[in-house]
Symmetry: C2
Subunit: 434 residues, 2 copies
């Protein structure tokens, strides 16, 4: 096996100027017959971001499946969700997904994933393999049976969702997996016996076998040298990590400039695009520092309110965090860990909406960034005598409208490019080719 470790690139430094997020494109606009549309007024508008602005979609699953307890509130939640995000993470915690062996909630999750997909939202499944919230019925099985059950579950989920979910957290928190002591479980027992790398290989290889086109993440909360060493171990073992998942739950205080810079610097060395997979920033009191496992912090929602001061601070910290990550070329997406305070993990006031559904300042601030400052707003342009227009925009999906007809195109790579865009006569579809 050849090592997959590659020497760090030299270009992965943060650029607040965001050159890596922008393209300068010249479009030659033609009619259906290929002849340039000269001297015409056109409208160009961005439709989507190339960057993944994600959020968990857990809270919408019941509503999508017609089981809402609050139709109005959930519909509004869905509206707020799609107004901001283009990537959804959906839960595949095995102990919940298949609490009774042989009865997976495939239909329910497929409906949810399809709902997001229909709205142009990419979906990730989380996670295929983890020691926490694993299937309770595994404890009755021997090591070989557990191994087999894990493989079958991974293949089944990846295969069943192909085309709807093609991105997965292949394995979650493998650094601690074999030495996890908070609750005895069959996955930890197996990891102890096989080692971490064998568990990684199991997850990545089974998932890839079920869908060769799948995008697989290694995901961890451990930002220490331990995670670096695990990544090196995976690369030496020939495990193909498509994306590197970094959690950033900040229940004990925002990371700030220095820690974020350090983490980006250390983890961008592997030349694997980075996803910030789980970001939480509170609008209330932080968890005390002496709590080493956040799951030990057991308080009610009433004991942990979102405060005015906290919401102002949260908005600042979220804005700063998003700016730092968007400015770093190694980062490809950033997923926030929960839109509403309702049903938040640990009852934490970490959402962007209050319990009554109203937006906190952080929601508005994020909207200003994602759909304002970093969004190419509708731009009227006029083609020249050769049918050309020039535009500069953030990478992502666009459409161009001319005389009532619309064609779509993408700005895919930073820097200068030239596209030809054929506009069908008063039709909604069109294709761009370089």
């Amino acid at each position: 096996m050849t090592s997959l470790f590659t020497s760090p690139g030299s270009s992965l430094r943060p650029d607040p100027g965001l050159a890596h997020r922008r393209a300068q494109a010249t479009l030659t606009v033609t009619g259906e017959d290929g002849s340039p549309l000269a001297e015409q007024d056109v409208l160009v508008r961005q439709r989507d971001h190339a960057f993944g602005f994600g959020c968990i979609g857990f809270e919408l699953i019941d509503w999508i499946n017609g089981r809402s307890q609050d139709e109005t509130g959930d519909a509004e939640l869905a509206r707020r969700w799609t107004a901001l995000f283009n990537k959804a993470t959906l839960p595949f915690y095995w102990g919940r997904f298949e609490a009774v062996r042989g009865e997976p909630k495939t239909a329910e999750l497929r409906a949810a994933a399809q709902w997001f997909k229909d709205r142009g939202v990419g979906v990730k499944g989380h996670p295929l393999l983890w020691h926490t919230l694993t299937a309770p019925w595994l404890t009755d099985l021997g090591a070989e049976q557990v191994d087999q059950a894990l493989r079958e579950r991974i293949r089944r989920e990846v295969a069943d969702f192909t085309g709807v979910i093609d991105t997965w957290d292949a394995i979650n928190e493998a650094v601690i997996m074999p030495v996890f002591t908070a609750e005895p479980n069959a996955v930890t027992t197996l990891a102890r016996q096989k080692g971490r790398v064998a568990m990684l290989r199991l997850a990545f290889e089974e998932a890839r076998a079920a869908n060769p086109e799948v995008t697989l993440l290694l995901n961890d909360f451990d930002m220490s040298t331990g995670y670096e060493c695990l990544i090196e171990a995976a690369l030496e073992a020939g495990v193909e990590i498509d994306r590197l998942g970094l959690q950033s739950h900040m229940h004990q205080g925002a990371w700030g400039e220095e820690k974020t810079h350090d983490v980006l610097e250390r983890f961008s060395r592997f030349n694997i695009p980075i996803h910030f997979t789980e970001t939480t920033i509170l609008s209330g009191t932080p968890v005390p520092e002496h709590i080493s496992d956040l799951n030990d912090w057991q308080v009610s929602a009433e004991q942990w309110p979102s405060t005015e001061e906290g919401e102002a601070r949260q908005a600042e910290e979220i804005q700063a965090h998003y700016r730092r990550l968007f400015a770093h070329p190694a980062v490809e997406s950033l997923t926030y860990w929960g839109l509403p305070d309702k049903d938040m993990w640990l009852n934490a006031p970490g959402g962007l909406l209050r319990r009554d559904g109203s937006p906190k300042p952080a929601y508005d601030r994020l909207h200003e960034l994602i759909k304002g400052e970093w969004w190419t707003s509708e731009t009227p342009l006029r083609t020249d005598e050769a049918g050309r227009v020039s535009l500069e925009g953030f990478l992502g999906g666009y459409e161009l409208e001319v005389d009532g007809a619309v064609a779509s195109f993408e700005l895919q790579a930073p820097g200068a490019s030239h596209l030809e865009l054929r506009v069908p006569q008063r039709s909604a579809a069109g294709t761009a080719s370089r």
Copy 2:
């Protein structure tokens, strides 16, 4: 490359009964002609431990090389040293060993190593590759030249000392190596570029090439999951780790039962014999917990005395630590990081002798263990009509004396065994065969 990771064995649990340290042997004692020496009085005595009771030998180098500033004190120090230990660690910090390029202190170190070897003491060189105390002149070189210089230095030292030093810390503190920030240095820069595993491979492969029979350690102070992951990375990369080195400097307080148990449990999973390579336990005030790098603790020896209360505590803690490690079958040796307080790292009162050379209670306590409780004292026995004697003893080297003639033998493996021992007529040499 096939993974070298093996599933954890089932027998690596601590046994305070020390069955893994003891053998029950039946010896058939014969004369030179091979005929049994029946009904004879014999004396059996232990000469050495199979277990490595080690210490650094740094303080004796000048004295061995005829540069003592205190002949009487140093001779007494040497006597105290050899009365207790059977393994020595000698310093090969590159920045000191070869401060000026091309002028290595080979002769001086070889004299020291030979002195120990002549006294039956096994010697380890420490370390072949480390980012701290590295050669200052490396900073003038480019990456490829640094790489080449490292390789040459490793080959040179291992080759030059073959037969006198056949055990080396191949690489020291690789977990932190590429992200070490305390002082810029060429080794960290190279590790950053190549990755940890490549640095491990460099050290192990060059050393092995220079001496195929060498015993090589991976050595680290990091007892977190980070070191576990690095070991997995090494094993996946096919790096043959002969022994696993765990440092245990306890300047901030003794580990105690729980941490020691946890470390042994986690690191014995790799089925690689464990060396506790660097143990320090203080007889004075511990370094405050907020100091994260011990090198930041800069105090004079006068400010950091050995106290009566501290010495009593140190003796208890050292005894407990040695008992725990000797009771664990995965542990093969334990090296204490300095016999005298004089010249101790950080000026810490961590020695077993006071600054005036007198023994602290910990020295006597260790002597009681190593040469008392865990030592098979001289035993008079009488052979039966077939020339046989039975004995139970701690693993190690022995001699048997009969009628003024002496033959030596070894108890190598725990449990029952049968040896034949031919005793030459009134000679000091003899051989045992199974």
